[in-house]
């Protein structure tokens, strides 16, 4: 089973990188962009075939390592197998 984990700065915390990217987008003609948040994405192949079990394992991965929950939040997507 494959999954994607997205990690972003928490909304209430200023994201200077996202703001710099938003400002740059404005300079190249995308003035309508209101907000950009810059984060990280992980594609993880973790075996197994039970999405509920996989979701719980991925949640633990995020809490223990993939995200720093003091300043970051995360989202988990189970991906369709492409085999």
């Amino acid at each position: 089973m494959r999954a994607r984990v997205n990690v972003y700065p928490r909304r209430e915390i200023l994201d200077p990188q996202g703001k710099a990217i938003r400002d740059a987008l404005e300079r190249v003609g995308f003035a309508a962009v209101r907000e950009v948040r810059a984060g990280k994405s992980f594609e993880i192949d973790l075996g197994g075939d039970d999405p509920a079990v996989a979701g719980e394992i991925l949640r633990q991965m995020c809490e223990k390592l993939l995200a720093n929950t003091v300043v970051e939040e995360y989202g988990i997507e189970i991906l369709e197998d492409r085999r």
């Binding site: 700065p9 209430e12 915390i13 200023l14 200077p16 390592l65 993939l66 720093n68 003091v70 300043v71």
Partner: protein, 236 residues
């Protein structure tokens, strides 16, 4: 005092810390490898600056899970002294031995310069050789030193007296222009509730000798290695 300097792959201030403890302060010092499972009897452990594990994932995140950190945690839980400088501070927050997190500098720039900090507490084993409210000058060199936590957690930190060092202007005045990384409440160094673990972004080991033009960092090392019984009475 027997002192240990932890070496992670990518540590680059380890020899500077070793030099101050060994050659300036005449202490017994040994390097501890990140895969060591014991601190080999060290009473003080220093996590030095650098780019442990290449800063992969987040600064300090992978180092926090290395074998030696289990021993550092036991040492801290038993009341032993632990100092984290720069990347070492990041490792301590990632290991949850200190609260908060260190994010990208607010201006997105690597900052390499001298800063001023007010010493907010002088009753700690790290700061007892400073005067209350003393303003010290130390160099910083980091891209991720922006201290953050939730407002409630920051309030708690202040109430508990865990803010040990705060960025300020040269005269000790609060001045956002001198808070180069944009840290919440200008926090440059914090300790744990018990006061035996300290993390700071500036580099005291780079300003601990007159020959370097600045020895403001020496008192921090002197504080740590001085026998407790001697601090109340006569100074050395």
């Amino acid at each position: 005092m027997r002192c240990g300097v932890v070496v992670f792959p990518g540590s680059n201030c380890d020899h500077d810390v070793y030099h101050v403890l060994k050659h300036v302060l005449d202490q017994e010092v040994l390097f501890l490898w990140h895969q060591d499972s014991s601190l080999k009897g060290c009473e003080l452990v220093v996590l030095p600056g650098g780019w442990s594990y290449g800063d992969y994932l987040r600064g300090g995140a992978l180092a926090a899970l290395s074998p030696v950190m289990a021993a550092v945690r036991r040492h801290a839980d038993a009341g032993g002294l632990v100092l984290g400088v720069c990347n070492g501070f990041q490792v301590l927050t990632e290991a949850h031995l200190l609260p908060g997190a260190l994010r990208r500098n607010a201006r997105l720039r690597f900052e390499c310069r001298d800063v001023f900090m007010r010493v907010e507490r002088t009753d700690l084993p790290f700061t007892r050789r400073y005067r209350p409210g003393q303003v010290v000058r130390m160099p910083i060199a980091h891209g991720e030193g922006n201290y953050e936590d939730s407002p409630a957690a920051l309030d708690q930190l202040e109430t508990a007296g865990q803010v040990v060092l705060r960025y300020c202007g040269p005269g000790g005045e609060p001045d956002p222009a001198w808070n180069f990384n944009g840290s919440a409440r200008a926090i440059g160094g914090v300790c744990n509730p018990r006061g035996n673990v300290l993390g700071l972004m500036p580099h005291p080991e780079r300003c601990a000798e007159e020959v370097l033009g600045n020895s403001d960092g020496l008192a921090l090392f002197e504080s740590m290695v001085a026998p407790v019984a001697r601090t109340a009475g006569a100074r050395r």
